[in-house]
């Protein structure tokens, strides 16, 4: 059974410009959730019906002992600015966990995780789970500028190596994160790639994966209405005869080769 739960906000802090980290008390969601899945959050309150649609947010962290769900989001419009204003003790109506998350292959010993901007959100819990399994995790984070490199300390905790790239060189290397990925792939024999970030970045990661003959999973975002596979509003074009797949239930995690990157 899927469920709609009322979750209490435990904390909500701005961790970077316009970027918030929120923790919710949601044990029933946390116990079922996998890295890469999302929750669908109602942002209108009380009898208000505006904004009308829920907002899908990636699951950032899962604390099974405390039943604590972490979210990391950037304020991009009306819905996320309402979420940014939420305070400890407020309540949110959420549905989840939803969607198909990341799946680490049984035989993977070494993985690379690539995040761009706010796209790091679904990757921390993946790094956490991989590390717990004894898998070597090489994390690469990119952003426009140093202040937008999100949660590097958390990623460092769950990574064997952490490399940072910024467009302006203010922190880490002045390069694209995909450039440092090429370097990593030459040095290390990784078994799998996992990525989330801007489409242009994902497209390059998928291409690098193909040329290196590596399996690659990417997490995509789309505007959603239902979030559960009923409305067919959040589709993306695939490589399969121009067919569409739903970001909400076929994804949000897709194999890199499934996606039609030229659309």
């Amino acid at each position: 059974m899927s469920q709609k739960v009322i979750a209490r906000v435990l904390s909500n802090h701005e961790v970077a410009p316009e970027t918030f980290k929120m923790f919710l008390d949601a044990p029933s969601v946390v116990e079922k959730a996998e890295p890469g899945q999302f929750v669908h959050i109602r942002v209108s309150s009380g009898t208000s019906l505006d904004p009308f649609l829920r907002r899908p947010l990636s699951i950032f962290s899962l604390d099974l002992d405390e039943g604590r769900l972490g979210l990391l989001f950037r304020v991009v419009g009306k819905g996320t600015s309402i979420l940014a204003d939420m305070k400890d003790g407020d309540h949110l109506d959420i549905i989840g966990p939803l969607g198909r998350g990341f799946e680490i292959r049984e035989d993977s010993k070494k993985i690379a995780i690539i995040g761009g901007g706010i796209g790091v959100a679904p990757l921390l819990e993946l790094a956490h789970r991989a590390t717990k399994k004894g898998i070597e995790v090489h994390t690469l984070i990119g952003a426009r500028t140093g202040s937008m490199i999100l949660c590097p300390d958390e990623f460092r905790t769950y990574s064997t190596t952490l490399a940072i790239a910024t467009d302006d060189g203010s922190v880490g290397k002045k390069a694209l994160v995909t450039d440092i990925l090429s370097g990593l792939l030459e040095r290390e024999k990784v078994d799998e790639l996992f990525a989330c970030g801007p489409v242009s970045m994902l497209k390059t990661v998928a291409k690098l994966a193909r040329t290196s003959d590596l399996p690659c999973q990417v997490s995509l975002e789309a505007r959603m209405a239902c979030g559960v596979g009923a409305c067919l509003g959040c589709t993306i074009k695939t490589q399969r005869d121009g067919k569409y797949l739903k970001v909400c239930t076929d994804g949000p995690v897709f194999k890199g080769e499934e996606v039609d990157w030229d659309e």
């Binding site: 059974m1 899927s2 469920q3 709609k4 109602r42 209108s44 009898t47 019906l49 505006d50 904004p51 009308f52 649609l53 829920r54 549905i95 789309a222 505007r223 959603m224 209405a225 239902c226 979030g227 559960v228 596979g229 009923a230 409305c231 067919l232 509003g233 959040c234 589709t235 993306i236 074009k237 121009g242 067919k243 569409y244 239930t249 659309e263």
Partner: protein, 306 residues
């Protein structure tokens, strides 16, 4: 304890346990929301619109939020009628739930063929003839906007099947009463309305239309007053029962439609905001009837007209 209230109804020969249905295109083929609750509690399900052959649908982006609603241009993505019968209907047959199959065609013949196929199938309570989809080039809304074409489609379907026929009307017309009367003449058993009014938004940052298909259908609370008005108008001229829909999210919204004369209602985009909305509406109508000492739902239908 208040007395029991009667919510059972017969609409177009379909027996429903309460007047709350779920609208085509917002509820898939039931499975998605079947994970939230027992869907046999619903009055009926109107499944995603089907065409004779599978359709891929329109290019993304397919939806955009608007004030108190959303615009969509899904474009009737569906597995085709055979795909539905093979892969989706078996799931629905497990429930004591009337299944109303929404069909859309490019030609009168398409509609008739689909009705003919469905006529033979067990586990189908009725057909909803969609002459109002705003998102496909051929057929769809074109049939619903011209009284004679609407007549031809319904007449063609009527000849092909003995199943109860509900015809879903488009609000994108000058006079909805005229279309309603035509489909009544052609042999419809009920009318459902409204499908989505056509709308558009511009993505100002990118200086181009926000939807991949340029135009889309508007749904959600934003359209509710238009829908209530059209239900009121149509109920005033036809003898057929009317299923009202358009922006219903709460019991209060549903009561508006019933009081305007709708025999039943359907929850559409409201499912997206609140997956539990249909059940809350069933309970809310019951509570209202208890509070107002109304024992039979039939007493409520059209009460605002008297």
């Amino acid at each position: 304890m208040s007395k029991d209230v009667m919510m059972e109804l017969d609409i177009a020969g379909i027996e429903i346990k309460n007047p709350v249905m779920v609208a085509s295109g917002t509820f898939g083929f039931g499975k998605e929301y079947g994970r939230f609750y027992d869907i046999s509690r619903l009055g009926a399900i109107m499944v995603k619109g089907l065409t004779l052959k599978p359709r891929l649908g329109n290019p993304p982006p397919r939806l955009i939020e608007t004030p108190a609603g959303l615009l969509n241009s899904i474009g009737l993505e569906n597995p085709g009628i055979q795909g539905f019968l093979t892969s989706e209907l078996p799931y629905l047959r497990e429930f004591a739930l009337p299944v109303i199959v929404n069909i859309a065609g490019d030609t009168v013949n398409d509609y008739a063929k689909m009705a003919d196929i469905l006529d033979e199938v067990k586990g189908i309570a009725g057909i909803e003839v969609n002459i109002s989809c705003p998102n496909v080039k051929a057929g769809g809304m074109a049939f619903g906007a011209v009284p004679e074409l609407a007549y031809d489609v319904v007449n063609g379907v009527r000849k092909a099947t003995g199943l109860p026929l509900i015809v879903k009307l488009s609000p994108n017309v000058t006079d909805i009463k005229e279309i309603a009367l035509k489909v009544q003449d052609a042999g419809a058993d009920a009318i459902s309305l409204i499908n989505t009014p056509l709308g558009m938004t511009i993505n100002v940052e990118e200086q181009r239309p926000a939807l991949g298909n340029v135009f889309g259908g508007l749904s959600g609370p934003a359209i509710r007053p238009i829908a209530v008005r059209m239900v009121w108008e149509v109920v005033g001229v036809v003898k057929l029962p009317v299923i009202g829909m358009g922006g219903i999210v709460t019991p209060h919204d549903a009561l508006e439609f019933i009081m305007a004369g709708a025999t039943a209602i359907a929850v559409g985009a409201g499912n997206f905001l609140n997956p539990m909305a249909p059940l809350e509406i069933i309970d809310g109508i019951r509570e209202y009837m208890e509070k107002e000492n109304i024992s039979d739902i039939n007493e409520l239908i059209g009460i605002a007209r008297r």
